[in-house]
Symmetry: C2
Subunit: 312 residues, 2 copies
Amino acid sequence: MNSITVSEVGPRDGLQSIDSLMPTAAKLEWIALEHRAGVREIEVGSFVSPKLLPQMADTAEVVRGAVELPGLTVAVLVPNQRGCEAAIAAGAHKISLPLSVSETHSLKNLRRDHGAMLDEIRACQALVDAEPAERRPHFEVGLSTAFGCSIEGPVAPEQVFGLAARVLDLGVAEIGLSDTTGMGNPAQLETLVTGIWRRMGDGVLTGVHLHNTRGQGLANVLKAVELGITTIDSSLGGLGGCPFAPGASGNIVTEDLVFLLESMGYSTGIDLEVLLQVRHAVADLLPGESWYGFAAEAGLPRGWRPAAASVA
Amino acid sequence: MNSITVSEVGPRDGLQSIDSLMPTAAKLEWIALEHRAGVREIEVGSFVSPKLLPQMADTAEVVRGAVELPGLTVAVLVPNQRGCEAAIAAGAHKISLPLSVSETHSLKNLRRDHGAMLDEIRACQALVDAEPAERRPHFEVGLSTAFGCSIEGPVAPEQVFGLAARVLDLGVAEIGLSDTTGMGNPAQLETLVTGIWRRMGDGVLTGVHLHNTRGQGLANVLKAVELGITTIDSSLGGLGGCPFAPGASGNIVTEDLVFLLESMGYSTGIDLEVLLQVRHAVADLLPGESWYGFAAEAGLPRGWRPAAASVA
């Protein structure tokens, strides 16, 4: 049975998209609840300026709490070397730095061109390499706007391949692909994933961050896991990135993703019935936010069995 | 370039799920607008008892109007021989009869067991065969609850194969598969489709009717078209089958489906920009109904190109 790691990004991607400030204890309760449901990788926050994102000001404390949970990979996002230092100091297991393939987007979002971003990445990799092996975090660069940019429009696969190669040349072990704008389709995903694997080796790309902005999230996931991608990002209740009407979520809904994977026989380690209870508990921790998801609304089908049960 | 027929079921499946009674002229305007956007198959109504479904009482008149549109395949649903007679008399091009794989569902829904339903199907096939070749409609049997039943629970593939064989033995040329309950997943779809093709030949199954109840609609579509299925049902604005909260639609949204297919390079013949305008026009014809869809909410991405443009 194939295993897929569902990487929960709600405490980072979700919370930084909403106005509510969630107390640290509530964040840690959310993380503990998902961990109890079987989630084994959670992006718990980002090390960015607290002036820009006050929701993330307590990320170091959240990391220090989350690393106590057995078997949990505690992931964080960092925009630069300073964030990477803080992430290492806090003890994060996995550090991701987003690099926009669209240079226009990079300049607008982080006010840095590709050269400046690559300098930050080089510095981060050096920081990580300086850590002793037994507590060295995993460092990866997420190629955002890889499927298209809302400013530049279409992004050519060659742009993605070229930038991926420049990142890997800096000694970075792994890159990710992000459909930041929800413009991607499964054929494009196949072109990008297999193109990178063919040029740079299978090990350099194992995870994707997809959005459901135009309803294509799970179709893209299906293609990804069939190709052999083993880590998929998603957000509980689709929290975060809801720029449009109800239903038009940015993030893939964790519950719907687990339903897809477990129904197909991919093992996620997550107990979906427990996860659906967690959804309600976390919603209580974030009053006033809108939650989203088809599987939760419809409920599990009569007689539905997860992957492990089908094999047994 | 592969072509896919998007079969619009809104005027039947959508309208019969809502309380509003749409006037005949408005139905014909809807159908004409979608035809103008390039849709070439529309299920325009069903020949059922007007006492049960008053929304469908004018189906004969709608068929007679719709067949005037050039190149449009006018499809209808019938539950029995009497409906089939009416469909033939009205001049429908394509007649579908739903047969529930779950006998419990069949008894509850149509108060007929499989034996009685197969008698109706035999009678329908005889009626169709009696028509002169030049105006003989296409007759097919849609196997509903093929992916699971909300009463019986899981439905074994062998049940689907067995019932499909019994239908084909009656001389029916084609069957369809319906995920009536939104319980299906892509692995199951592959098992069912390839199982039928292997046992009964590729030509007997070319279309699927999938639901998005648990958010799996387009993932299932992706698997279907990659296997070689060439007709996919969907509903404009996801109208119909909305038993849950907003967003938890039953039907696949036509606009999102066309976005998936055209983005991937499958030609649908549909101009998505025009279709998104049609959505608004039809919404005006049905005040008070809720419309749904990710692509429409988010809008087409900057620089998005349909399949034909990518090839040119």
